[in-house]
Amino acid sequence: MPLEKELATYARMKADLLKTHEGKFVLIHGEEFCGAYDTAENAYAEGVKRFGQEPFLVRKVLAQEEIYRNQALSLGLIHARL
């Protein structure tokens, strides 16, 4: 599964990251925490610079994880024909 290692690393480090980097975007490659950045763009640029096209995680450190809600899409109403 893509990013499995990185997501496990984030989950393991989350409590500490919330104390030190809440609101920042962290870059994680495998089990390595590579840094925290003010923007996702900067974190991604650093990830590409260091790891090229290898998988890496860029995530905003938040106590409450975001949930993508789009009722019209999930209910199929976006392209419904009445």
């Binding site: 893509p2 640029a45 590409v48 090229g52 998988p55 975001e66 993508y68 899409l73 999930s74 392209h79």
Partner: protein, 155 residues
């Protein structure tokens, strides 16, 4: 302030705003950092993917059809929980560069786009590849005039 006006489309194509929704042409390409990396390595740079974006005030984040990222060869950088009628699931998150040719708005970096299966064609044959959510709409002025089937979008 440049203004993109959908009036010509709504009026000239049978006032399709209710049926198709407010659409804007969109071009999605790889993030600039990846473009630079590929250029440095002498690797081919994938061609941008074109289609239409449906303005979706109900979506907090912008979403793009998964096949667009597959065609661009962009790797996911995160996952986000998604709420569906069958409960919670997860969707991949991708970075991309987004341009709106009609607005003359070019190469906006977007680092958090949700990938999902949303591609479809309107009755006029326009292919929707993006749901333009509130993360982008926060930078725009949007006026939806259902009465006259006009949409004004400005930035």
């Amino acid at each position: 302030m440049p203004v993109f006006n959908f009036y010509h489309w709504s009026k000239d194509h049978g006032y399709t705003l209710t049926g198709s929704g407010p659409l804007i042409s969109v071009e999605i390409s790889i993030p600039s950092a990846l473009k630079q990396h590929l250029a440095e390595k002498g690797l081919p740079i994938p061609a941008p993917q074109s289609g239409f974006a449906l303005i979706d005030t109900g979506a907090f984040a912008t979403a793009v059809d998964q096949t667009v990222f597959d065609a661009l060869g962009v790797a996911m950088i995160d996952k986000i929980k998604t709420s569906t009628p069958h409960g919670e699931a997860e969707s991949p998150v991708y970075p991309a560069t987004v341009s709106f040719p009609g607005l003359e708005l070019k190469e906006m970096p977007m680092e958090r786009i949700v990938g999902c299966n949303l591609k479809w064609q309107t009755m006029e044959g326009k292919e929707i590849i993006m749901l333009l959510g509130r993360d982008l709409l926060q930078y725009f002025l949007l006026v939806y005039n259902g009465k006259s089937a006009d949409v004004f979008l400005a930035y």
